[in-house]
Symmetry: C3
Subunit: 154 residues, 3 copies
């Protein structure tokens, strides 16, 4: 029976990966802010056209969709479609008491796949490259959920 604490090496693996992925998700928000400020475009709300420290020379075109900023929003959305599911699937997988080496392989594999997806998406690699890393991450999450279900139902 596995327990949730920092003395269980399987949980520690999960906790390190989960904390790194928190930084990834929050960092994606800051990448959007950075791109919005740097390009002075891609604003989301009409009131963002009021002049102020963030926007010294407002112009209605700043509300138009801009790939440079919108790409970071799409990457963020892709994170939200995958990472919260990892957080809960990983927790259930840890409680199913898998072999440590399998847990490390899958959990760090997910982190690596999402890091590679970030690089591929932000540098505009082909759809095939981006889809490959998406697939690896997705299969890890699906496997962890199935593994937990199998242990729960057997």
């Amino acid at each position: 029976m596995q327990t949730i604490n920092f003395e269980n090496p399987i949980f520690v693996t999960y906790a390190i990966a989960s904390a790194l992925l928190v930084l990834k998700v929050m960092g994606q928000g800051w990448m959007t802010v950075y791109r919005m400020l740097r390009s002075n475009s891609g604003l989301a709300s009409p009131e963002d056209l009021k002049a102020g420290p963030i926007n010294r020379n407002p112009d209605p075109s700043q509300l138009e969709v801009n790939d440079y900023v919108d790409r970071s929003r799409r990457m963020h959305r892709n994170d939200l479609e995958n990472i919260p599911a990892f957080w809960i699937a990983g927790l259930l997988f840890v409680l199913a008491n898998p072999p440590l080496i399998l847990a490390q392989f899958l959990i760090y594999g997910f982190v690596a796949a999402r890091a590679a997806h970030f690089v591929a998406y932000s540098t505009r690699q082909t759809h095939e490259v981006r889809a490959t890393f998406y697939t690896i991450g997705s299969l890890v999450v699906i496997y962890m959920a199935l593994h937990a279900l199998f242990v729960l139902l057997m």
Copy 2:
């Protein structure tokens, strides 16, 4: 005092439902991929117009919004608006030590409501039908959070 492990039947109820919902969320991503490939449209990024195994005959119209593909993205968004909140509300509810029969009713009720919402949305049922299943799922999550808060604050 409830504990988080696979020997606690209330937690097992929650864990089975949560793992099924992981598969639901990840599956929604694959439904979008399937619809994108099948209709050869609804692409998200400009670089997806490069010719390659995924896209043999690129055309700029493939970047336009297409209801067949966008419907799956809206369903995915609706999942993200409801399922992660279920994961945490359910965990807090389990820790509040509810009667097992109540936990089973609410937790499996949420899974059933979301499955019905999936069917209603993908088969284009009326707004009333879709809204009914959304409402049932939403009320379960709200109830679980209020139940936990009540126990925490009493």
Copy 3:
């Protein structure tokens, strides 16, 4: 070593905040529903134009983006970009056994920052005001993840 149960005051702090944030996220969905019904616009799917109890006089313009309704959807998206990351970062932070006073300051600070962000966004305050509350919430989540990582890796 910290445990996850309602007798641990650090976990109780986290659990109260997490349950309140569940209500915030679910409530944002209902704010969108309310605004959609009240303005009779901002519908998301073509089939929502079928006449019925929700929509007595359908008109194609109801599918157009409408700031009154879309603002609530943007607020919801902003929640999804921040609150699930809080749920997991907060859990890892609690397990890292921080001083109770620090946990209360950060965790209730996050709730207050998100409440202020809600008010600022819904009342169309300037981008600077909204960004300030977003930043406070984001820094709390980032700090909690770094704190947990530090304890895990030391």
